[in-house]
């Protein structure tokens, strides 16, 4: 089971599903992969992002990105595409992903010893 740290919604996803790819919580209504979008951003708090446009769809209206902790990046050539805040790069040192989640784990029966037939 997973819980979004931002809105606290929980969901149980099928085995193998990427929890960061699903829009199962209310933080973002757009069906796009937060992790992949963040990782493809050439900026990281504005570093290495001089004048490059944001590749996040409608970043100005994205409630998840607006809640980012990194400082704003540089504006793109189109004012409507101005980056409202740095994207988090998954795997980048010091980064916090767009929508961090809690993974709740469960274990079956650790003991596998079996009784012997009489």
């Amino acid at each position: 089971m997973y819980q979004c740290k931002q809105c606290l919604a929980t969901a149980k996803l099928p085995p193998g599903a990427d929890p960061h790819a699903s829009t199962w919580c209310g933080c973002c209504p757009v069906d796009h992969h937060h992790g992949r979008q963040a990782a493809s951003c050439p900026g990281n708090g504005g570093v290495g992002h001089p004048g490059e446009p944001c590749n996040q769809p409608n970043p100005r209206n994205c409630p998840v990105i607006l809640g980012q902790r990194t400082p704003p990046g540089e504006p793109g050539p189109d004012p409507d595409d101005e980056c409202p805040g740095g994207h988090c790069g998954v795997g980048v040192a010091g980064c916090t992903v767009c929508r961090p989640i809690t993974h709740f784990a469960e274990v079956g029966n650790p003991l596998s010893a079996e009784g012997r037939p009489a």
Binding site: K5, P15, G16, D18, P19, H20, G35, C88, V90, G91, V92, A93, C95, T96, V97, P100, I101, T102, H103, F104, A105, E106, V107, G108, N109, P110, L111, S112, A113, E114, G115, R116, P117, A118
Partner: protein, 150 residues
């Protein structure tokens, strides 16, 4: 028969093993083998590959918010057992600071000078997709030790 040990004896054994908060030694009688010590607190270790009852699994390496050796399960690992089954009393969690490998199993080890492994088993579902900022948590009662088949 498919089961072996009297339920009351099983309850007493696993309660002694996993609810004690201090180290103790079991010393068998003559011909009963060597004494052995149980050293709480117990630690929960995360495995990228499950072992078996006779071999250790592959533990996740230190880094990205995880430290080899695992995290403590608290002063007392489990509550008193019922019907040969007991579960962890405390939650255990890690804050990821990077991308984790897939976790498939867990092991429970004590904290002796040379730690001993006591339990091992597969997760109900693999832990996958953990990235920087995520939390991995085993809530209280998420780990069940079931000795009813002893």
């Amino acid at each position: 028969m498919t089961s072996m040990t009297d339920q009351s004896r099983v309850n007493a054994i696993i309660q002694a093993l996993f609810t004690s908060s201090t180290a103790f030694t079991i010393t068998p009688g003559t011909g009963g083998g060597s004494a052995f010590t149980i050293t709480p607190p117990f630690h929960l270790r995360l495995m990228t590959a499950q072992g078996s009852n006779s071999s250790n699994g592959t533990e996740m390496g230190t880094g990205n918010g995880y430290t080899a050796g695992g995290a403590t399960l608290g002063t007392t690992f489990c509550a008193a057992p019922s019907s040969g089954s007991t579960s962890n009393s405390n939650s255990v969690s890690w804050s990821a600071t990077g991308t984790w490998s897939t976790i498939t199993a867990i092991e429970v080890w004590d904290t002796a000078g040379t730690p001993l492994r006591w339990l091992q088993g597969a997760l109900s579902s693999n832990i996958t997709g953990v990235v920087n900022g995520d939390t991995v948590q085993f809530a209280a009662a998420a780990i069940t030790a079931n000795a009813s088949a002893w």
